[in-house]
């Protein structure tokens, strides 16, 4: 984390001179200095870093050059929108991907299974952002069924604004979530199929059949529970990349999340916001991997603590 902060800071420092953008070209040299001083940009780099670290440890990442608000607040304000999008994309891709992959694995010789796999290769290969554009073209421009941008009306739950409780919210969510989830869904299909094919050859599946269990229980319990172990791990770990990829989806659909804020801030050279974003993402990644570890041990009893052999 500490190494990361230095790297990130030095990197961001070199992006460019925010003054060039913030200050109007007609401003005098004096004006420039005044603004630079007020933003703390006149001091040497190491001093800026030192100030940054001391305040960062107190949860303060500096003020946004553009908005004049604490950067961390800006990020946190927009985080729920991104998380909502990422979670809904994840849940959808698991709900769709696992049954399809399971089917393709169990009946891998059938035409349907091959169609599913061909679809997953396509889903895997389609460039994420282009899918978004094409969805807009078809559903928003040509058919006019779904809105192309924004979040729509939100409702407050436990102090967080969410979209998924209203129909209009769902309409706004549909395209971005589909865009974001498509490649993950393809990944889950492939993974589910591969593990299903592996697991169904296991002796314990044959033994389950030899015990006279019906197919529903053999597939729904014995096979599915074993498949869910790798699926959970991969889905969890991919959630991080999903949050990162939300940067693109949010840009396309003008989704007011922290990814869009990041791109705007990069364009505006709003350094504190970029730094705050990265710190928040690192924090999210660490949290996610912790949750995945816990889930993993719940699903796979072999990794539970204190049980050697």
């Amino acid at each position: 984390m500490a190494v990361m902060s230095v790297l990130v800071f030095v990197g961001i420092y070199m992006i460019g001179d925010p003054l060039a953008i913030l200050v109007s070209p007609e401003a005098t040299e004096l004006d420039r200095e005044a603004i630079a001083r007020s933003l703390g940009l006149d001091r040497p780099m190491w001093e800026q870093y030192f100030t940054f670290v001391t305040s960062a440890l107190q949860g303060n990442f500096g003020k946004s050059f553009v908005f004049g608000q604490p950067a961390i607040n800006l990020i946190l304000e927009r985080m729920p929108a991104t998380l909502e999008l990422a979670l809904i994309a994840t849940v959808t891709s698991v709900v769709i991907g696992v049954p399809l992959g399971l089917y393709a694995g169990l009946k891998h010789e059938t035409v349907t299974a091959r169609a599913i796999m061909a679809g997953s290769v396509l889903g895997f290969s389609l460039p994420n952002f282009w899918v978004g554009l094409m969805l807009i073209m078809v559903f928003a421009v040509q058919l006019g069924w779904l809105p192309a941008s924004g979040r729509g009306p939100t409702m407050e739950v436990l102090g967080i604004q969410v979209s998924f409780l209203t129909l209009a919210g769902w309409k706004h969510l549909a395209l971005p979530a589909l865009t974001l989830g498509l490649s993950k869904c393809a990944l889950i299909i492939r993974l589910a199929r591969a593990t299903a094919r592996e697991v169904m050859l296991m002796d314990y599946v044959k033994f389950a059949r030899a015990k006279g269990l019906n197919e529903r229980r053999v597939i729904g319990v014995h096979i599915l529970k074993n498949i869910m172990v790798p699926i959970t791990t991969v889905t969890g770990l991919e959630l991080g990349s999903l949050i990162a990829f939300a940067v693109i989806t949010e840009t396309i659909f003008s989704w007011p999340g922290m990814g869009k804020l990041l791109i705007d801030s990069i364009v505006n050279l709003d350094r504190p916001v970029v730094v705050a974003y990265l710190i928040v993402v690192v924090f999210l990644l660490v949290t996610i991997s912790l949750i995945v570890d816990i889930l993993y041990s719940v699903l796979d009893p072999r990794v539970r603590l204190g049980e050697a052999k």
């Binding site: 314990y204 030899a210 015990k211 529970k225 052999k309």
Partner: protein, 331 residues
């Protein structure tokens, strides 16, 4: 009285890209209640496939091409999948080779045992649990209530195999098919399990088919023995007769290769060559390429002929009904 299991001319085939593999090729036998049949053969001989075929559990693309399997008079090869399912685990149980692999690693032992009870009988979970505890006690597992709440990886191989056996016994089946259940275990545990299985069969009248590649295991366990080679039965008879007076050269070779059957210091017998590839079986006797007695006659497939009462062999040049002398095997 009808036999518990009556298999007639059973053929199980696996179509592959390069041709049809005849894994089981015209096998007939029967097992009576309380009887223990040893099914012996090396890997690839079709002995395990025979077991799976009886239960209707051959992996696709394998299929039964011919023959009949009658369980207490009921034809199984044409039975509905649902009927087969209701017999499996209840009337016909199976025990697998590798205890490390037969229990699902992510499910607790109680889940896996109780589901077996409830798959065949409408009983409460509590009653089912009581049955499981009873079954575990029967196979000699101490503190079964607590053991039930554990996961498979918390048990040793021997314990897991006991759990698998207990699961097979839950419904007091009429027939148990055991596919090399002791191969993966330590010798001491192997002995215990053999003893317990034998006792269980005698006590409950359960018929048992014990599949193995190890002649010495069945020697002390089975009533009758059946030797398979490349999908066909080559010799069958009462255990003592076959072991003492084997007629087929392959059986003779098998017995000669068991340590202990020979005087000390003698070199163990080795059957020369390898089993024929299942895709291009030679015409005639399948053992002829490895047999010291083979001649031109062996290019036709010999029939399974009864030489002594109840003792049959598939050979044109069977050894006479006389005891095997160590010197003869060594030569």
């Amino acid at each position: 009285m009808t036999a518990t299991l009556q298999v007639e001319n059973l053929e199980t085939q696996f179509p592959t890209r390069d041709g049809i593999v005849r894994a089981v090729d015209g096998v007939s036998f029967s097992v009576d209640a309380g009887e223990i049949l040893g099914l012996v053969g090396e890997s690839g001989s079709g002995k395990s496939i025979t077991g799976f075929t009886i239960l209707g559990l051959i992996d696709p693309p394998g299929r039964i091409a011919n023959g009949s399997v009658k369980f207490k008079g009921e034809e199984l090869t044409t039975a509905s999948p649902e009927r087969l399912r209701s017999l499996r685990g209840a009337r016909i149980a199976m025990i697998f080779q590798d205890p490390m692999m037969t229990l699902n690693p992510v499910l607790r032992v109680d889940t896996q045992m109780i589901e077996t009870v409830q798959a065949h009988e409408k009983v409460s979970e509590k009653a089912a649990r009581a049955r499981c505890i009873e079954a575990l006690q029967a196979v000699g597992i101490a503190a079964p209530e607590e053991r039930l709440k554990s996961y498979p990886h918390q048990f040793s191989g021997g314990m897991r195999q006991r759990i698998a056996i207990a699961t097979a016994l839950l419904h007091k089946p009429d027939l148990i098919i055991a596919d090399e259940p002791t191969t993966a275990l330590d010798v001491t545990i192997q002995g215990q399990i053999l003893y317990e299985m034998r006792k269980l069969c005698r006590d409950t009248g359960t018929a048992l088919i014990w599949i193995t590649h190890d002649l010495s295991v069945v020697a002390g366990l089975a009533d009758r023995i059946m030797v398979m080679y490349a999908g066909k039965i080559v010799e069958t008879g009462a255990i003592d007769t076959v072991i003492e007076r084997p007629q087929h050269p392959y059986t003779r070779g098998l017995i000669g290769s068991v340590p202990g059957a020979m005087p000390r210091g003698k070199r163990l017998f080795q059957i020369p060559g390898m089993a024929p590839a299942p895709l291009n079986l030679p015409p005639g006797c399948r053992f002829k390429a490895r047999c010291s007695r083979a001649d031109a006659v062996c290019d036709t497939m010999p029939e399974l002929v009864e030489l002594d009462p109840g003792h049959r062999a598939r050979c044109h040049h069977p050894y006479d009904a006389m005891p095997l002398s160590p010197a003869e095997v060594a030569s």
